[in-house]
Subunit: 124 residues, 2 copies
DNA sequence: GATGAAACTGGCCGGATGGGCAGGGCCGGG
DNA sequence: CCCGGCCCTGCCCATCCGGCCAGTTTCATC
């Protein structure tokens, strides 16, 4: 293995705004001596948003009930647990989870909490 | 969408480590479409240190392979996807996920990524 | 050579998950 | 009054998940 004198600086993008994140990813992707972090990778530094601008594209509105199940989802709760905690039936829990997956554009509950955490909808 | 780079992205450096800050300043200073913020200037984004020292008591010893599947887990990947991405069988993927659940004290894969994110093992 | 850890693979099975279908009630805007 | 959104519930079904059993190889250490 060719050991370079200085390893690349690994930078994680923690930007809510998809457009801005994409711009930065493009700009930084071609910079030598610097590399974007893969999901889950330990980064040296992170880029965070500074000014809170109203997100134009990825704007979604979760209903109060959906926020409830999302919080429980982040705790690793099963549909049965969600139903018990919220005093609703398992079917309704699945119903809300389904809406969450749709609105968050997630393939599963794990992906849903990851996306929500990335966008700052929930706080892990 | 023809989005023209109307204005440069202004980035503030908020790094304690002078050496790292200097490196980043040098690297980013030569990137077109992006400039560093003047002192006190309103920045679009900020770069913060993500150097987490996990040394201490509660530190996990996840094997390299387990870190691989954990990263994919954070992307919402199914066992099948993990197997394909890693070039292993679904059984082995499930095996590693099982070890992960055990070591992270999680009840499921969703709980596992939440715990891992909370403890800084991964960054979403 | 033995011993252990890590990685890998297989089968089996109960339960959870996700998506589809179908309803219902409540409430506010047009 | 009717329509739409939100919330709730039921059933069916293919798939996935997690845990159990079993085995293999490779590698480093003793």
């Amino acid at each position: 293995m060719s050991s370079e004198p200085a390893a690349d600086i690994v930078i994680a993008l923690e930007i809510d705004d998809p457009a801005l994140a994409d711009q930065l990813a493009t700009l930084l992707g071609s910079v030598a001596g610097l590399r974007l972090a893969a999901p889950g990778e330990q980064a040296t530094a992170a880029i965070v948003a500074r000014n809170r601008d109203t997100a134009g594209g990825g704007d979604f509105e979760l209903t109060p009930r959906e926020l409830d199940v999302l919080a429980l989802l982040a705790e690793g709760a099963s549909n049965k647990m969600i139903a018990q905690r919220l005093g609703i039936s398992v079917h309704t829990a699945k119903f809300h989870v389904g809406s969450l997956l749709d609105k968050l554009d997630a393939t599963g509950r794990t992906d849903a909490v990851a996306h929500a955490a990335r966008r700052g909808v929930i706080n892990l």
